[in-house]
């Protein structure tokens, strides 16, 4: 198992390119044709695609720019990279044909989780809710990577989910010995992402392990749960994830406040459905 893990880690980190939503790519390219377009506007569109967002954050946090692990929002990344670099990134990003139905479901789930994360962060009055949205958006990136780099294992995982009706990450662990949360942690380190994001990406299934930013892990954990509860998108299995009560404690979230969050998200998720990736 140890060998498989090391081998898989190597494969995962060797990732060259990842599938991106063609509509998002096209929309960003179009926006960039206008030299006076604002970074806010471009950031908003890039934030609809977890892969493009991850690429932007990977680039801005790379040591060549001189401030690794510092930047955790798309808006800041765009200010620091500049449109020139973003244009280059868009040109070099390929559109994959593996964007099948289940993948699109995963994109929707990620987008839903981003929205839920920022809503929760705002409700419990955390600073910089935008960073929580990014962690929510990227929390299942490991699943996309596994699909591209470890396709044989991925098929096995999916089969096991169906056969045993278990959560996706439990099946991942049974088949591969590690879950997408582990892949997330590898990537976060390898790409020099800020620790704050890493905690959300690596510990959203294991809130108690987040040592530095427990509220980040708690927010993404809760957001993942809510997004599944409302059946926004598809995260690989039909289970509503197990809710960890510690998340409530960390965020000092009362039942009343939780209800408020749910109410708000009912409306927000509806608005989200305006954006259908398959359009």
């Amino acid at each position: 198992m140890q060998d498989l893990r090391l081998e898989s880690k190597k494969k995962v980190l060797a990732i060259k390119d990842l599938p991106t939503l063609p509509q998002v790519l096209a929309e960003v390219s179009k926006l960039l044709e206008d030299p006076t377009v604002s970074t806010e506007k471009v950031a908003q569109v890039i934030s609809k695609d977890q892969v493009l967002s991850a690429k932007v954050l990977k680039m801005v946090n790379s040591p060549i720019y001189g401030f690794p692990r510092r930047i955790s929002t798309i808006q800041h990344a765009l200010v620091l990279l500049g449109f020139n670099v973003i244009k280059g990134l868009i040109i070099s990003t390929s559109v994959f044909d593996i964007m099948n139905q289940s993948m699109i479901g995963l994109w929707e789930h990620s987008l839903g989780c981003a929205l839920a994360s920022s809503t929760i962060a705002k409700k419990v009055k955390l600073k910089d809710p935008e960073e929580y949205a990014v962690a929510g958006l990227l929390h299942d990136l490991g699943k996309v990577i596994a699909l591209v780099q470890l396709p044989e294992l991925k098929a096995e995982v999916e089969e096991l989910v169906k056969k045993e009706d278990i959560p996706y990450y439990v099946a991942e662990k049974k088949v591969m010995g590690f879950g997408h949360d582990r892949i997330n942690a590898w990537l976060a380190d390898y790409w020099h992402l800020p620790l704050r994001l890493r905690e959300g990406l690596a510990w959203h299934h294991q809130v108690q392990s987040a040592q530095h930013y427990p509220e980040m892990a708690a927010v993404v954990h809760l957001a993942d749960f809510i997004t599944r509860l409302f059946e926004v998108g598809f995260a690989g299995d039909d289970n509503v994830s197990k809710l960890d009560a510690r998340a409530f404690k960390i965020l000092k979230l009362t039942p009343n406040l939780f209800e408020e969050i749910l109410d708000e998200l009912v409306d927000n998720f509806l608005e989200l459905s305006d954006f259908k990736p398959e359009d």
């Binding site: 930047i71 800041h76 620091l80 600073k127 800020p194």
Partner: protein, 308 residues
């Protein structure tokens, strides 16, 4: 054009004559023996050193090494003149030459190569080692050339408030992160305006300058301030970021607090009234004192612009 003093170390007068015909305006000095050149080039280094690989008295590689191992001469481009046969006998992984060309020389190629070496050396010398932005020489040149052309422009001097206390608490390498970030913000903001005569330079430390057309500069200042203020908290440790100030103990053992870093910008305008870049710098320094009075990020525009 800057003065051009070229040294050639070679036994061949034919080579000298050929090179002279390529750069007739340069001041040429020729040394037949390598040994006699050493004292000369140490005392008054040339703007270009050309070394023939076939010297009679000492090895050309030794000359190169001797010259380049002294930090003060490193910026002088050194070009080795080789024959195709002895090209492989030089280890270019270790020999610190800037370029080479082959005998018999091709005049057009040698002319371009020498120009390229001179320009490359000038760029490398002037660039800020951290941000790689143009440094003082380029900044002064740019300002003076705009003044001489009677172009209208706005010249902005940028610096950071409380950068020193950040450096004191977090150390130089964390300070460098902030400078790299600041440089990126300024460069991207200025480039977004897409003006032909725009320019960004790094004077050194936390001092930057940029140039834009007068009608664009105020918006640029606002954008830079907005970006800087929203990004800079990321560069502090969580506790400081949370309380929005840094707490440190000074040498007297006193606990002191400093606000988060802010950015100050002073803008001078030229509508043809400036004659020398020094005037612009002087006005800017006075404006900066006003900008600095505000503990938050701020910009000050030279009021005299309306009088013009």
């Amino acid at each position: 054009m800057d003065k051009r003093e070229f040294f050639l170390i070679s036994n061949s007068t034919d080579l000298l004559n050929e090179l002279k015909s390529i750069f007739p305006d340069a001041t040429w000095s020729i040394f037949e023996r390598g040994a006699e050149a050493i004292e000369y080039f140490f005392n008054s280094p040339p703007s270009l050193l050309l070394i023939d690989s076939e010297l009679k008295d000492i090895s050309s590689a030794y000359l190169v090494e001797l010259f380049k191992s002294e930090n003060v001469y490193r910026q002088v481009p050194v070009i080795l003149i080789l024959s195709k046969e002895n090209l492989s006998s030089f280890d270019l992984n270790h020999l610190e030459i800037d370029d080479f060309f082959l005998k018999p020389i091709d005049k057009a190629e040698v002319s371009s190569r020498i120009n390229l070496s001179l320009n490359r050396a000038a760029r490398a010398l002037d660039a800020n080692p951290l941000t790689k932005l143009p440094g003082n020489t380029s900044i002064i040149k740019k300002i003076q050339s705009l003044i001489d052309q009677k172009k209208e422009f706005a010249l902005a001097y940028v610096d950071l408030d409380h950068f020193k206390s950040f450096n004191d608490k977090y150390g130089f390498s964390r300070g460098d992160e902030v400078l790299m970030m600041t440089a990126r913000i300024i460069v991207n903001t200025i480039r977004a305006f897409g003006s032909k005569d725009s320019f960004v330079g790094h004077v050194g430390g936390d001092d930057f300058v940029f140039i834009l057309p007068p009608d664009k500069v105020e918006q640029a200042c606002q954008m830079i301030i907005q970006s800087f203020d929203s990004i800079v908290p990321n560069f502090y440790d969580p506790e400081d970021r949370e309380r929005e100030c840094i707490v440190s103990t000074d040498r007297q053992g006193q606990v002191r607090t400093f606000p988060l870093m802010a950015i100050s910008i002073a803008v001078v305008f030229n509508y043809g009234q400036l004659h020398h870049y020094g005037e612009a710098a002087q006005i800017a320094m006075n404006l900066k004192k006003i900008a600095k009075k505000n503990p938050k990020s701020s910009y000050v525009l030279d009021k005299r612009k309306s009088a013009q």
